[in-house]
Each structure stands twice: as structure tokens, then as C-alpha cells.
């Protein structure tokens, strides 16, 4: 037996993918190797840069993004166009930064890795366009330190692009200056939170910052700063190439959220992996594409988009996977990468794993998260051991309620509360089984 080297892969072959229908993965090579500059240019890569820079008004670019309704793929689903329209710019404002959030650490999420490793130029093109729209003079790719292959691909791509004049002064004769640097992180999930990310970029402890002011008003080094997810930015070139209507058309009747989504499935399925599908594809379709659960197990529950989303049940499988639909079902689309729980797997143990993760990854800034989450994790460990005490479940519910939005400083703790609260809501009896029988010595 040999453990395989891990490779990021898409399950759709080249013949299934075209740029007109697969704006993200239409670029990918079938062999999983990184698409170099020559190949990228051969497919008219950077064509949109030439088409837009200096020719289109930045505000029009933003209008197109708004009309296309490109919703943030980092998990929040905030409209990229709206975010860009709120960035402070103008004669009396210093030019700021565009930051790509490539810190992908959300438990169960493995989508940005694919794009980073295999089409770095697409991201660079999206960033140049984003920089142009937001009047940024410099871009950073904030890449998690463990993505070694992505770091190699990105460094190479940045050098190639700079050498070819796609980065630097007067890009493609447009008069627009913009350059990009790669910043690699040193661990810690919280760096993915956009304001913590900015602190980390500045070489500080990655505690989040209070909002307002939002990064668009005062971000990195106090300048207007836009933070967007890798996947979000990778959508930008196609939106500007083909237009908002085309983008909306990709998801068609399935969803009001435009475009496609890089969906994925993990868990005990036959074919875990990634697919680029129209926004609003039902979860059931993904489960089918993944070949269903292995070992003849049945589905017990699923997380729609990472550890900080709420559990959904088999009955929710036909819901369209878009931000509003999943939100209405009481969860969040998050990153849109599904994690499936089989019927023989313990929800208490899984939630313990999640809460231990969130507790460990708390930045330690605000009290409910810093001291509340470890407590929840301890209670869950007790329940898992069968050492729970009457009242523990109510304590957990109260702890989850106290991590609600607005009660903590950032969205980390609310993210931790979601799976906890939903698991207790849906599977309370599993938790009750963890309460020690009367008379049994609890530790």
C-alpha cells in the first residue's frame, strides 16, 4: 500500500467544459497540470484586460458586476458589485489595495485550491480587473502557507504576467498601473476573516477589526481595500467578457444568483470531488454525481458549505444550492462544498470535532468565542464519553445562542454556533444519550 500524493481534481472532463458554460473550469487542462501563460493567452486569456482597461469606465465595470449579481464565493454571498461600489475612491482618496482571499481553511472546503494550482492567470486577470474597478494600485494574494503547490504556481504566474506586461506600469498601454504580490500565511483559520486577514497582511496578530469602518473605507494601512475570494475574482473576467445577461443566463431559472459555482462533495461517497455547475443546482444532483454513499450507508445529515454552516437533513436534498434558498432553510450556503454524514456516524462526535476546531482557532479577542467555545467543546467531549450531566444540553444551547451575530466581535463564533445549534435541534436524542445515567460517577 502507498498513500497517494494528494492532487486537486475536477470530475468534469474537458469535453464537458467550455468557456461559455464553465467560466471557471473551462480553462483547466485535463491532466491537472497548471495552465501556463502561453496556453492561457492562446485561449485569449488577458483579453478582457485589454478590452476593459482604459476603455471602460470603472463604474461601468462595477455596474456590470452588480447586474450579473456575482455573489461572494468566500461564504458570505455578498454581492461583489455592491461591495465594489462602496469602496472609497476619488481625487481626495489614496489609491488602495485589492486583496484576494486565498486562505481557504473552512473545514470541508477544497475549491480555491483547484483554481489556484491550475489556473493562476485567471485569478490574476480577475484581480487586475478588480484593481481597475476599485482604483487599487496594488494587489495581494493572501495564500495559506500550506498551499505549497499553489504558491509555486502563483509565483510563476506573477512573474510571467509581469514579464509580459500584464502587471506593472501602464498595463497593456492603458495607463493603469497595478502590481501583485503573493503573501503566504503561517496558519490560523481566522486569517480568512477579511479584517483579520488585513491585520495579518500588515504583519500583526490576526485579530479581526471592528466594522464600521469597512475595509472599503479603511483597510490595509488605512487605505481603501477590497477583499474577495479566489472564486469570486475568477468569475470577473467572464462576466466582463460575455456580459451580465449571459452570466445570469448560466444559472437560468435555477437561481437568481448568477453564474456557476464550483460545488464539491466530501464524506463517505464513492466519488468525492469538485464540479462546476450552474448556481442553484440541487444538492441531490451533487450526491448523485458523487455516486452516493459508500458501504450502503444512508444519509443522516449534511453540511451545505463548510463547518460554519448549519446541518441540513436528507429531506433538504432537493433544495437549490444558492445563498437565499439555503439561508431560508435555516443554514447557509457557505462555500457550497457539501460534507455528508452517514447514518452510522455520530453527530455528537462530529459536532465535538467542529467545536474543538472553532475553539482552537478562536483568535482570542472577544470573550464569548474565546472562553465560550472551549466550554462547549468540553461539554461535547463529556457527552461523547457519556459523562454528560442533566442541563448540559441546555448549557450548550445557551452557549450557541450567545455566539450569535452581533454578540461576538466577528463572524467566527456565529459560524461555530450554527452547526452546534442545528445539530441539537435536529438530533437532540443523540445528545441526550450522552448524559450519564443517574448514579454513574460523572467525571
Amino acid at each position: 500500500m502507498t498513500a497517494p500524493r494528494y492532487r486537486s481534481r475536477l470530475h468534469q472532463a474537458a469535453r464537458e467544459r467550455r468557456l461559455e458554460t464553465h467560466p471557471l473550469t473551462g480553462w483547466l487542462r485535463d491532466d491537472g497540470e497548471c495552465l501556463g501563460l502561453d496556453d492561457y493567452l492562446a485561449k485569449d486569456g488577458y483579453g478582457v484586460v485589454r478590452q476593459v482597461l482604459g476603455r471602460q469606465d470603472p463604474d461601468d465595470v462595477i455596474e456590470t458586476l452588480k447586474a450579473a449579481n456575482v455573489r461572494g464565493r468566500g461564504g458570505g454571498g455578498f454581492s461583489a458589485g455592491v461591495k465594489w461600489s462602496l469602496t472609497l475612491k476619488g481625487a481626495d482618496m489614496p489609491r488602495g489595495y485589492l486583496v484576494c482571499n486565498a486562505d481557504e481553511m473552512e473545514p470541508g472546503t477544497f475549491k480555491d485550491r483547484l483554481l489556484l494550482e491550475q489556473v493562476p492567470h485567471l485569478l490574476l486577470e480577475g484581480m487586475i480587473l478588480g484593481g481597475y474597478a476599485n482604483d487599487a494600485f496594488y494587489g495581494y494574494i493572501f495564500l495559506r502557507g500550506e498551499y505549497v503547490a499553489a504558491a509555486r504556481a502563483l509565483s510563476r504566474a506573477i512573474e510571467e504576467a509581469r514579464a509580459a506586461g500584464w502587471l506593472g506600469r501602464d498595463i497593456a498601454g492603458s495607463g493603469f498601473d497595478f502590481d501583485i504580490a503573493l503573501h503566504t500565511g503561517a496558519g490560523r483559520y481566522i486569517c480568512g476573516e477579511e479584517t483579520a486577514l488585513i491585520n495579518s497582511l500588515e504583519g500583526r496578530r490576526a485579530n479581526p477589526r471592528a466594522k464600521p469602518p469597512f475595509p472599503g473605507q479603511s483597510g490595509a494601512w488605512g487605505r481603501p481595500t477590497v477583499v474577495n475570494n479566489v472564486e469570486t475574482l475568477c468569475n470577473v473576467p467572464a462576466v466582463l467578457r460575455f456580459g451580465a445577461d449571459w452570466y445570469q443566463g448560466l444559472s437560468g431559472a435555477r437561481s437568481d444568483d448568477g453564474g456557476t459555482k464550483l460545488y464539491g462533495v466530501s464524506g463517505r461517497v464513492h466519488r468525492p470531488g469538485l464540479w462546476e455547475l450552474p448556481m442553484g443546482t440541487p444538492a441531490g444532483e451533487l450526491l448523485d454525481r458523487a455516486g452516493g454513499l459508500r458501504d450502503g450507508r444512508a444519509l443522516k445529515a449534511w453540511l451545505p458549505g463548510g463547518g460554519s454552516t448549519g446541518f441540513l437533513l436528507p429531506e433538504h436534498l432537493d433544495l437549490a444550492l444558492d445563498f437565499d434558498t439555503i439561508g431560508q432553510a435555516g443554514s447557509r450556503l457557505g462555500t457550497g462544498i457539501l460534507a455528508l454524514v452517514a447514518d452510522d456516524q455520530s453527530l455528537v462526535a462530529l459536532v465535538r470535532n467542529l467545536e474543538a476546531f472553532f475553539a482552537r482557532e478562536s483568535c482570542g479577542w472577544c470573550t464569548p468565542c474565546r472562553d465560550g467555545l472551549p466550554w462547549a467543546a468540553e461539554l461535547l467531549r463529556a457527552l461523547e464519553r457519556g459523562d454528560g450531566r442533566p442541563g448540559d444540553i441546555e448549557r450548550l444551547e445557551a452557549l450557541a445562542a450567545d455566539q450569535g451575530p452581533g454578540k461576538t466581535f466577528c463572524a467566527h463564533a456565529p459560524g461555530a454556533a450554527m452547526p452546534l445549534a442545528s445539530a441539537i435541534r435536529c438530533f437532540r436524542e443523540e445528545f441526550e444519550r450522552g448524559i450519564a445515567a443517574p448514579g454513574k460517577e460523572a467525571r
Binding site: 490560523r188 496578530r205 477589526r209 471592528a210 464600521p212 469602518p213 473605507q217 479603511s218 494601512w221 488605512g222 475553539a359 482552537r360 482557532e361 478562536s362 483568535c363 482570542g364 479577542w365 472577544c366 470573550t367 464569548p368 474565546r370 472562553d371 465560550g372 472551549p374 466550554w375 468540553e378 450531566r389 448549557r395 445557551a398 450567545d402 450569535g404 452581533g406 454578540k407 461576538t408 466581535f409
Partner: protein
């Protein structure tokens, strides 16, 4: 102004505030941790949660953090809402998860903000049943004790230490529920303001180590409103006593001076009061070697007898003694025979500074006001060494640019992290000219390291660049001219430029240079300020009172023109060369010394009268901003040690005067002396307004020096006498030496011995005494300003010194003030001695090379008057041709003197 509705009641509040500030200003009790009035909001602790409602229809509401929510007009909120209360109780419960619950052995207990908040939120039962995490503690130096297990991770310590005070050696380490606040390596905290951690930290992580060995709960301390005697800034303190010892000093809020913070010299320098070797009874030194201990009457008789026999009696006053003491001495010997006790070169500077305060056209800002200046020029002062708290205020002025920038982007000043994020390292311009590095260099736009003459020349050049009517500097090199022009431009561009000069380098030219800059600015109608740094607590006051310099007094004695001398709280050996003082004292037939320290001067006294320190006596001091302030005795020393015969200097002198005239000692109270002093010295006329007199009452009550929970009163003296004596009476002040009397916060009063309000035992209780949080005491901030500029701006001074030129075989001495070890009385305190850096002699690298000397080599510096040997420190910033030594190692060596250097043998050389 804005109107907000809190739990159904409408209030008018300041719309610039956040809701927490607004609520606290209204006197509402809302718990909080991470917010601090001087540090602003960061929203970390989540303790100040309240319910906010969109409008009258909104019954649901949402939880918001009061400290992070603007007090906008029309805001509706509830503190009492069930969800808000439950959440706040939850926050405390989380904060206490790892807390050791060690209140009984914790030095914070009884004045602990965490205790107060725990009680306020009603948390009283521990539900967390898992293991607590524990931390190791660090040694942080002689001032601060560290107990990390008590930490509640509010981040206040680093925010004060790093963001506010500029320290670089305290940080937050780790993450998650394992955050650690400490030094990067175990060791002495470097900041001059580390002591404030004891008050900024809301629990017992950072506590006063000097207090630890003779610890007393706050409720068992007896307090009085104090004025720090350790420099001329005039910070208000709250010294606490038990068993006849000062046990700790806390900050006493003053809305215009120190507000929330003290420096470490002031906070930890009190131990001289407790020295075992202090004179406590009159001593007569006749022919025999052993002094004879006398009782008061005998001492007065002998003293009077000796003075009566004298042909002429000289009085030597003191800039560290009260106005009343100096006045009474002046009264005893007559104005013609009174010396201020200040050496001539220093007094010259003081006189010039007084004149400049009147005729340089710019007012002296209060410390609070310093913070709102937007360009600062410091000529010849290392403020962190010579007037540390002023330096901290200058730092805030320079950082004030941040808030200005933030305001332009609608970021409220209280949103601390956002303000810092936006402004990054934007600063108002600060220029410092000083011979070597100073404690504010890190935030200065430019630091010029120059010899004192050249600093003065730079100042004169700046003045000329601002106002061409100011004399030009001859032979100025192009570089200095450009620098002067740059500084002038920055000062002119500012809304409120501040010029800071002073006497630290004892250079009259330097003082005048600052004066010319001020005049130039005043002429150009800049609404700026002029701050002139004096060295000692009452230097400003004694100079106003008047008198001849110390040299004159010694000369008169030496020449035999007088044969008796009375020295008040002054160690003459700290001021002039030993031989000279020896000679003068030897020439006098009678030497009477009043002091609270057994100084070399005391040892030369025929009659020594034990004077009160700030802890046992009252009096008035005038700070460098010209503010006359009264300090009050903290305790009556005879209560615990009946054998002591300590009295305030003024009272001894009054009694001596009466004895001299064979009158009965009159029953005179302090107020009468103060009035008399004001009448006799017109410059001091204002001091009668300083305080409510001894007859002042609140609701008909005197004011209590002890908290109402003061315990063990009946047992305190049980080792002396089991029957409980009447508490000592205090005819001089409105305070009682007991818990009887008013101690509350509702009735406005200016003189508050200690801050306490129901539910608020910690220093945060000061918020209950102010008109708004961080504002002014509701009863008015203590003190009366005596110095104000006259309407006419005086003429520019044109005595510009020639440039300094290094000399081949001769050096120029500069004596550099230092915070720890550079001041007479605090240097007698053990914690300060432990903290003081070893004294070194500094030379420029090139000069050291020329002498073939290396770091650590012992060198001997010699002037016409004295010499001292010290290890060499090669100073990369010091200009060539200067040799620098720290203040406090050799009193007879003075700045500006010519000096010679020789190699000194390793050991055996006399060192101080």
C-alpha cells in the same frame, strides 16, 4: 448634544460619545472591561452589551456593545432588558472560567474592577466543571508583580503600554483561550509608565510590587489628597497609609493635570517616607559625637537660645518644601537673610522662566491641554527623564493627528483600533533637540543631537525664521539654518504649536531661545503654548516667593557676616561642592536643620528638627504650569509611634519664632500661614484660593480620610494601649483622621482622598466624581494657576551664544536628568534604587576612540570643582566634545562646566 432614551427615560448626552461613555456619564451602572476612558473602545470583552431598538415600534431589539455604538440622537436602548442582562452575566461567567478565584490572597482584592463587575452582574456560582488552564508568571522588575492566571484578556494592558505609552516590551502572546500578556522575555519592564498597569488592569494580573510586602486592603488604608513631590509636574496622588507607613501611591484624578496616569517615579518613589533611619525626634549635637535626643520644648529652647545669641541668622529654604515652610523661614530670618536654597545657575534659569511665562506671549498649557497641540518643539529637555508625565502628554499630542484624520472620515475618536488603522504612523510634528537620545525620539519627526549652545542657537534661528524681528544667529551653518526653517514652517503651519524648554541643562541661553520662539509665534498670532520645565516640586513656587541663591548664603556664612543658619528640607550637598558647603557650615556657630531625611546636611546640624514629609504634613506647591496645589497629611505619625515629634516645617519654624521672642507658641492653623504667605508675597496672592479651608464641610460633615469599611481601628494600637484613643484631630484641614465624615461622590468636592462609590471600589470609581467620563471633577479640578502671560509681548533676547567647538584637551560636561536615581528624595527609596540603571559616563564613539577607551572602562571626569569616576558608555548619538553623566551621582558637577578626562583605576576610586 443628542437625546437618547434609556429604559424609557430620556436623557441629553454628548452625541460624540459612545453609548457606554454616555451611560456612565449619566451615572448609570453598566459593566465594562476593555473600554477605558483614556484608551477608547475596541469591543473585545463584550461586557457592555445593551439592547438597542430601531424605533418605538421595535420591541424585539438587538444586542449591541454600548462602547462600540455611537450615542446618536434618538437612540433607544435598554440596560435592564432580560436578554442583555443575561448576556452580560454570561460574559462574566466566561471571564471567570479560568480565574483562580483567589481574591483572599490577591493584592487587587477590595479595589478590583473584576470583583465590582462580578457583583454588578450578579454572577456568583461557578458552573464550569472542567480543568482550568494555568500560566507561568514573569519577573517584571521591582515595581510590578505578575499573576497571569487572573487575566481576563481585556487587552487593556497592551493598549495602554504600547499604544498609549509607546512601550515595546509588553505584548499579547498566543491565541484562543491561551493568550498571555507579558514581556517577550522575563525582565524589567522598560516603560517609565509601567506602574499604570496596576490601575489599567481591571484585575490582579499587574499589581504594585512595592506594596506587596506590607500589603493592606484599600478599605484599610488611610488616604489624603497628595501632590507628587518627585518632580515639578504636580500630579495629584492618593497616598495610602497603614500603621504609620505609606503603603502605596495611586493616581488621583485631576481633570487638567495627570488625569488617569502617573509616572513610575511618582508612583513608586515614596519609600523614603518609610525609611527606618528617618529623624523622628529633635536631635542636639553638641560637643559629644552622639546626638542628644530632645523633646519639643527643649529643642525649641535650645534653638531659640542659639539664635538669640547669633549676630545674624541666615535662612536657607528649599524647592522641595512647601510655600508655607519657606515663607515661615523667610519670616523667621527676615527677607534680607533668606535664601531660596537653589544654586545660582538654576535660580537664574528659574527667574528667566518666570519672566518668560509672563512676557513671552504664550500661555502655559495644562497637561490635558498639551494633548491638543498639533506641533511640538522641545529644546534641551528629555521629558521622559525630567517631567515624565508631561512627556506622556506630549506623546498624546503627537498621536493626536490620528484622531484628526479619522474625524475627516467619520471615524469617531473613541473607535481606538479604527483610528490607529486609518492613521497608521501619521503624527503631528515633534522636533527634539537634545545632546543625546530621549524617551520621545520614537515618535519625533526629527531628533537633533546637539551641544546645549547649539540647541540654543537652533532655537534662536527658529525664532528668527518665524519672526524676522527676532535676532538672527551669526555664523549659522547651512544645515542648521535649513533645519530651523523646517521647524519654523511646521510650527507656523500648526493650529496650536507648543514650545517646550526648561532648565534641565542649566543653560540660560537655552531658556531664552525657547522664549524667543514663543515670542515669535505670539507675534505671528499663533495660539500656541509655552511649557518650561522646572526640576523640583516647588521650584516654581519658591522662585516666586523670592530669595537669594544658595551661593550667597554660603558666602555670607563663610565670610563670617552671619554666624547662624536655619536650613529647611534641603540637602545642600546635592547642590554645591562638598568643600564649599563644609566650609560654610563649619563657619556657622549654629546650624539648625529641618528635614525628614537624614541627609549629610542633617548630620552637620547642631539642632535637627524632624520635619514632616508629604505624608505627615500639609502645604502648598506650585507646579511647572504655575498651578498652586495643596497637599494634605496622610496620617498623624504620633498615633502609631507616640515618641515621634514630627511636625511640618512651617509649624516648627512658627514655634521657633515664638520661642525666640519668648512668646507662647500660638495655635496657628495652616490656612493662616497660607494667607500670611499670600499677603507677604504678592506673586503668590492667588494661593488663598487654592482650597476650601479647614472649616469647609460637606453637608455639615468633615471629610473622611478612611473608607467607611476601615477595619481594626480599635486594635490598631493594641500593642501600645488596649484602650482606644481618640483619633488624632486635624486643625489644619477639613479632613478627619478616621472614617467619620463624608466619603461619597454625590456631593461635588475638589479634594478627594480616595475614590469610592457604591459598587465601585476600583480606580474606575473616579468616573463617578467627574462631570463626564474623562472630564473634570464635578467640584472643580484642584489648584489655582498663578502664571499667566501679560498682554504685551516682551522684546526678543539677543544674547546668542557662539557655537560649541570641541576642544582637543578639554571637554564640556552635560549632566543629564534621569527618571530613576536623578531626584533627591525618591533616590532614597529602595525600589527606585533597584530600578535605576547603573550610572555611566558617556562619550561619542569618536571621542572614546581618541581616548583609546572602550565600553565599560572606568573614566574619571574632573572639573574645577569636583570629580567622579564612572564606567564608560559609548553613546552613538552624543556630539563630539561632550562628556555626559547622569544627574544624582555627583552634585558638584554641573552642566556647562569645562571638564578633563583621565583613566581611573578599577577600584578604590571614590564614587558617590
Amino acid at each position: 448634544m443628542a437625546t437618547i432614551e434609556v429604559d424609557g427615560r430620556r436623557y441629553a448626552v454628548d452625541g460624540q460619545d459612545n453609548l457606554l461613555q454616555a451611560c456612565l456619564t449619566l451615572g448609570l451602572d453598566l459593566p465594562y472591561f476593555c473600554w477605558h476612558p483614556a484608551l477608547g473602545s475596541v469591543g473585545a470583552c463584550r461586557q457592555c452589551a445593551v439592547k438597542q431598538y430601531r424605533d418605538a415600534e421595535d420591541t424585539q431589539g438587538t444586542l449591541v456593545m454600548a462602547c462600540m455604538t455611537p450615542a446618536a440622537d434618538g437612540t433607544r436602548l435598554s440596560l435592564e432588558d432580560d436578554e442583555a442582562r443575561a448576556f452580560r452575566a454570561g460574559v462574566i461567567e466566561w471571564l471567570m472560567v479560568h480565574h483562580p478565584h483567589d481574591c483572599p490572597v490577591c493584592a487587587e482584592g477590595g479595589h478590583c474592577h473584576l470583583q465590582d463587575m462580578t457583583v454588578m452582574t450578579g454572577h456568583h456560582r461557578r458552573r464550569y466543571r472542567f480543568r482550568k488552564r494555568t500560566h507561568r508568571n514573569q519577573y517584571l522588575g521591582p515595581f510590578i508583580a505578575h499573576e497571569m492566571n487572573r487575566c481576563i484578556t481585556c487587552y487593556r494592558c497592551v493598549r495602554f503600554y504600547r499604544d498609549y505609552a509607546g512601550g515595546t516590551d509588553l505584548g499579547a502572546f498566543g491565541a484562543g483561550d491561551n493568550v498571555y500578556f507579558g514581556r517577550h522575555r522575563e525582565g524589567v519592564l522598560e516603560s517609565a509608565f509601567a506602574g499604570n498597569l496596576t490601575e489599567v488592569c481591571p484585575t490582579g494580573v499587574f499589581t504594585d510590587r512595592t506594596h506587596a510586602e506590607r500589603y493592606t486592603r484599600k478599605w484599610d488604608l488611610q488616604f489624603a489628597p497628595g501632590i507628587c513631590h518627585q518632580c515639578a509636574v504636580g500630579c495629584n496622588t492618593s497616598p495610602g497609609e497603614r500603621h504609620g507607613e505609606i503603603r502605596r501611591i495611586e493616581n488621583r484624578y485631576h481633570g487638567e493635570v495627570n488625569r488617569f496616569f502617573l509616572c513610575d517615579r511618582g508612583r513608586f518613589g515614596y519609600d523614603y517616607v518609610n525609611r527606618a533611619d528617618r529623624p523622628r525626634r529633635p536631635e542636639w549635637r553638641g560637643e559629644s559625637a552622639e546626638p542628644l535626643v530632645l523633646d519639643v520644648d527643649a529643642a525649641l529652647d535650645r534653638g531659640a537660645e542659639a539664635l538669640r545669641r547669633a549676630r545674624r541668622v541666615i535662612g536657607i529654604g528649599s524647592p522641595r518644601a512647601s510655600l508655607e515652610g519657606n515663607h515661615q523661614l523667610c519670616d523667621l530670618v527676615g527677607e534680607a537673610n533668606f535664601s531660596t536654597g537653589i544654586a545660582a545657575r538654576e535660580q537664574d534659569c528659574l527667574a528667566r522662566m518666570r519672566r518668560l511665562n509672563r512676557d513671552a506671549g504664550l500661555p502655559t498649557p495644562t497637561l490635558r491641554d498639551v494633548e491638543s497641540h498639533d506641533a511640538v518643539l522641545v529644546l534641551g529637555e528629555d521629558l521622559i527623564a525630567s517631567a515624565a508625565r508631561l512627556g506622556l502628554a506630549v506623546r498624546q499630542a503627537v498621536l493626536g493627528r490620528r484622531a484628526a484624520l479619522a474625524a475627516a472620515r467619520d471615524i469617531p475618536a473613541w473607535n481606538a483600533e479604527a483610528v490607529m488603522t486609518l492613521a497608521q504612523d501619521a503624527r503631528h510634528p515633534l522636533f527634539i533637540a537634545y545632546p543625546t537620545a530621549t524617551g520621545l525620539d520614537d515618535i519625533a519627526e526629527q531628533c537633533l543631537h546637539l551641544a546645549p549652545e547649539d540647541i540654543a542657537r537652533l532655537g534662536f534661528a527658529v525664532a528668527h525664521a518665524i519672526d524676522p524681528a527676532a535676532p538672527a544667529v551669526d555664523g549659522l551653518d547651512a544645515r542648521t539654518r535649513a533645519q530651523a526653517e523646517r521647524i519654523a514652517a511646521a510650527l507656523l503651519a500648526a493650529r496650536r504649536p507648543l514650545v517646550i524648554g526648561g532648565g534641565s541643562l542649566e543653560s540660560p541661553a537655552l531658556v531664552e531661545a525657547a522664549g524667543n520662539v514663543a515670542r515669535a509665534l505670539a507675534t505671528r498670532e499663533r495660539r500656541g503654548g509655552l511649557t518650561l520645565v522646572r526640576r523640583e516640586a516647588n521650584g516654581t513656587g519658591v522662585e516666586l516667593l523670592g530669595g537669594r541663591p544658595l551661593e550667597w548664603a554660603l558666602d555670607v556664612l563663610d565670610e563670617g557676616a552671619a554666624d547662624a543658619v536655619v536650613v529647611l528640607e534641603n540637602d545642600l550637598y546635592q547642590r554645591l561642592p562638598r568643600e564649599r558647603v563644609d566650609r560654610a557650615l563649619a563657619a556657622a556657630r549654629t546650624v539648625i536643620v529641618l528635614d525628614h531625611q537624614r541627609t549629610p546636611t542633617w548630620e552637620r546640624a547642631h539642632l535637627g528638627l524632624p520635619a514632616a514629609s508629604f505624608a505627615e504634613g500639609d502645604g502648598t506647591l506650585v507646579s511647572l504650569e504655575g498651578r498652586a496645589q495643596r497637599f494634605y497629611a496622610v496620617f498623624e505619625p504620633r498615633y502609631h509611634r507616640p515618641e515621634t515629634r514630627i511636625h511640618p516645617g512651617w509649624r516648627w519654624l512658627l514655634a521657633l519664632g515664638a520661642s525666640l521672642e519668648r512668646r507662647a507658641v500660638p495655635e496657628v492653623a495652616l490656612d493662616a500661614v497660607t494667607r500670611d504667605c499670600a499677603r507677604r508675597h504678592p506673586a503668590l496672592a492667588g494661593i488663598v484660593e487654592v482650597v476650601p479651608g479647614a472649616e469647609a464641610r460637606v453637608d455639615g460633615l468633615k471629610l473622611a480620610r478612611q473608607p467607611h469599611r476601615y477595619s481594626g481601628r480599635t486594635a490598631l494600637r493594641a500593642d501600645l494601649d488596649v484602650s482606644e484613643p481618640r483619633p488624632p484631630q486635624d486643625p489644619d484641614t477639613p479632613f478627619t483622621f478616621s472614617m467619620e465624615g463624608y466619603a461619597g461622590h454625590e456631593r461635588p468636592r475638589r479634594e478627594v482622598p480616595f475614590a469610592w462609590a457604591p459598587g465601585w471600589n476600583s480606580p474606575q470609581a473616579w468616573n463617578k466624581f467627574t462631570d463626564e467620563v474623562g472630564g473634570h471633577l464635578r467640584g472643580g479640578d484642584p489648584g489655582v494657576r498663578l502664571l499667566a502671560p501679560a498682554a504685551d509681548v516682551g522684546d526678543h533676547v539677543d544674547a546668542i551664544p557662539p557655537p560649541f567647538t570641541p576642544c582637543a584637551d578639554e571637554w564640556r560636561l552635560v549632566v543629564l536628568p534621569r527618571l530613576f536615581g536623578g531626584e533627591e528624595t525618591s533616590s532614597r527609596s529602595a525600589p527606585i534604587q533597584a530600578r535605576a540603571a547603573p550610572a555611566t559616563l558617556r562619550l561619542a564613539a569618536e571621542d572614546a576612540r581618541r581616548l583609546d577607551a572602550e565600553e565599560g572602562d572606568r573614566l574619571r571626569v574632573e572639573t574645577a570643582r569636583a570629580c567622579v569616576a564612572l564606567p564608560l558608555h559609548v553613546d552613538a548619538t552624543l556630539p563630539r566634545g561632550l562628556v555626559a553623566i547622569p544627574a544624582g551621582v555627583a552634585a558638584a558637577l554641573a552642566s556647562g562646566e569645562r571638564a578633563w578626562l583621565t583613566a581611573a583605576p578599577e577600584a578604590g576610586e571614590a564614587s558617590p
